[in-house]
């Protein structure tokens, strides 16, 4: 069964209003970034001493990295579990992942107080710090993904020697990507293990690291469906529903395992009762669990959903939303601190970064062999 029912956009230079919007938002975001570098964080964000981390961390870094987990998940599916039919999805997914990590790094250039010193973690070490591990892994993994994507460029440019070289190390790269992802997806959870008294018991757990890891895999798989549907629509290139449906069929197992971990943890710590407190956090908990995990588990288990592109998309959206909500809860909503709404500059820089990622994907789809068999 061929998966190659691809339709390439005929005229690579015919840009629609989607591209235009991406460009405008991107440039506006860039302007705001420059503004932030010149005037400092106090003038351009709503951050403060009792709320030092805000939208950029919760969204760009936590959610961004978690949702980019689709890349290593797809790499594992194709190369480790040898499910060859997903091969056409590999490049776009890895590109999406790479863009996700680039957004995280770009987000850091405005969130860090001294972004020019970002490289310090290379020479100043702290093996106790989760952030150190995350920083190194993100840096290394972004490099790995760039290398994994380089064949796309080399093919286009007909650089055969580098092409052969990269292809010869593709399996080690893939393995490296999986190992690195395992480490930093879970280390993002380790980070929040350090503040048990500041996060509501329904979200804090001593096993946050494996919970972050598993939820990232599940959400990454949802993100593949979500993102490939959007880009398929925008670039007139659709991934076959059968493929997406098969992927969707595995998601309930991943999310189900996550829910087991989550609830078992709550039962063992005795915090399960907080679910029924009917206060703000408990309502937020139910929204996250029901919409973000239960709904995808239930609906992706239904063949009628897995056969329909639209239903696949919206259920995947719920899964993505659930992940977003989880990371926002852990790092913002349920973390003690000053009440906080992002400043409009923060918001539009994040939006600009997303637009940038979409724009790059857009251009890659038009000018590089993103969707071709190789």
């Amino acid at each position: 069964m061929t998966a190659n029912t691809l339709v390439r956009r005929k005229n690579t230079l015919s840009f629609g209003w989607g591209t235009a919007i991406q460009a405008i938002l991107m440039l506006f975001g860039l302007g705001l970034m420059i503004n932030r570098w010149v005037f400092g964080l106090g003038a351009t964000t709503a951050l403060s001493d009792p709320r030092p981390w805000g939208l950029w961390i919760s969204f760009d870094i936590l959610a961004g990295i978690a949702l980019a987990a689709g890349a290593f998940t797809m790499a594992a599916i194709v190369y480790v579990f040898n499910v060859k039919e997903f091969h056409p999805l590999l490049r776009p997914t890895i590109l999406t992942g790479f863009l996700g990590y680039s957004l995280a790094i770009l987000g850091l250039t405005v969130d860090l107080g001294k972004p020019l010193d970002m490289w310090h973690m290379i020479i100043y070490w702290n093996v106790h710090a989760p952030l150190f591990e995350i920083g190194w892994c993100v840096m290394t993994y972004a490099t790995v993904m760039a290398l994994e994507l380089s064949p796309m460029l080399f093919e286009r440019l007909n650089w055969n020697v580098p092409l052969k070289l990269i292809r010869s190390i593709s399996i080690p790269l893939i393995f490296a990507g999986i190992v690195l992802s395992t480490m930093h997806q879970s280390s993002l959870g380790t980070l929040y293990v350090e503040v048990p008294d500041q996060i509501h018991p329904l979200w804090w757990s001593i096993i946050l690291p494996p919970m972050f890891y598993v939820s990232a895999i599940g959400a990454g798989m949802c993100m593949i469906i979500f993102e490939s549907t959007i880009s398929g629509y925008g670039l007139n290139h659709k991934i076959p529903v059968k493929l997406l449906g098969k992927l969707a069929g595995w998601i309930p197992y991943v999310l189900g395992f996550y829910l087991v971990m989550r609830f078992l943890d709550l039962i063992l710590t005795g915090d399960i009762g907080a679910m029924f407190a009917f206060d703000g956090p408990s309502i937020m908990f139910w929204v996250e669990i029901l919409l973000g995990y239960v709904a995808p588990i239930v609906f992706f288990s239904m063949p009628a959903v897995r056969k329909n592109r639209y239903r696949l998309f919206w259920v995947a959206f719920l899964g993505v939303f659930g992940l977003l909500l989880n990371r926002f809860n852990v790092s913002w909503f349920q973390l003690e601190g000053a009440p906080y709404f992002p400043a409009w500059q923060e918001l539009f820089i994040s939006i600009g970064l997303i637009a940038f990622a979409m724009f790059v994907f857009n251009m890659a789809a038009r000018f590089l062999p993103l969707f071709e068999e190789h």
């Binding site: 529903v241 063949p303 056969k307 329909n308 239903r311 919206w314 959206f317 409009w344």
Partner: protein, 371 residues
Amino acid sequence: MPFKAGSFTEVLTQHGVARRDFLKFCGVMAGTLALPHDLQTQIASALEAPARTPVIWLEMQDCAGCSESFLRASRPSAAGVILDVLSVDYHETIMAPSGHQAEKSLNDAIAAGGYLLVVEGSIPTKDNGVYCCVAGKTALQSLEEASANAIAVVAVGNCAAFGGIPKANPNPTDAVSVMDLVTDKPVLNLPGCPVNVVNLTATVVHFLTFGALPDMDGLHRPLFAYGARIHDNCERRGHFNAGEFVKEWGDDGHRHGWCLYQMGCKGPVTYHNCPTVRWNEGVSWPVAAGHPCIGCSEPGFWERPTYVPVELHEFTPPATYPDVVKEMPAIDPTNAAVTGVVAGLVAGAAGAVAIQQLGKKDPEDEEIVED
């Protein structure tokens, strides 16, 4: 000529001063000079010594206010005695002789040397200094001649120390201070408008006791009198710390003796010991009387608007305390609104598309065979 008299005790008796009062005076001087209390005996011995230092007192462009202040030292009488005992050989305002006799006293005293030169008033320099002439000599010339043989020069009053009123804008006579002109002799400044005679007396006592001028700051002012700000010793400082300020003349705060900072008090930037030694034999001082300090011991004080609050440079905590419970920074409503609008738009658009799509069948649906 050095004053020659009988024994010091005889002088005291002649002036009707009890020895006990004299010793008390020495104790007060030790306190004013910020010296250890047990030095009062050393001060007493010095003041009783027969050899008394001559003083030449020159008045330049002045109002004689500092001389008037000096004269107020006639009471308590012990201080007056000391200054009599100083052998003031030349003082235009208060000496008895005049004309050629007076000038002869001056020239003899200068020729004899070993005197303390006290200068009152600023020195004009425009047009070779013709704007102040005594006995056919300009003030410039007199200062040069008199300082040549002096042990040290004491500039009393803001005019002599920093130029004072004559130097204020537009300074038509190009008035300058003593330390601008005398560079080869130690110059001590005792600014104030006028000088506080207690500080002059204490300086003299110090000189007589130790044979040296007291320790000075960067503006040549003795630290014992000009080492702390008015603000640091003011009896109304508690009101400042508590934020209790006079806002209008005669208001409730004024009647209760509240801080005059907002009425223009220059206390925070003025170095002087008025709150402790006060004026007119300790009767009162400007702030106690309900008027802000005008900063008369500081250079250029005539340039500063009297009733405009001065810019502070040193800050201290107020009398109040922050609460243990912290106020959280408020959410900016604009931020909340923008986030709300954007989130609403995204949710709305997503919802609209979702509703439209979820009923539809995908064309590919039929081809799928469940495996």
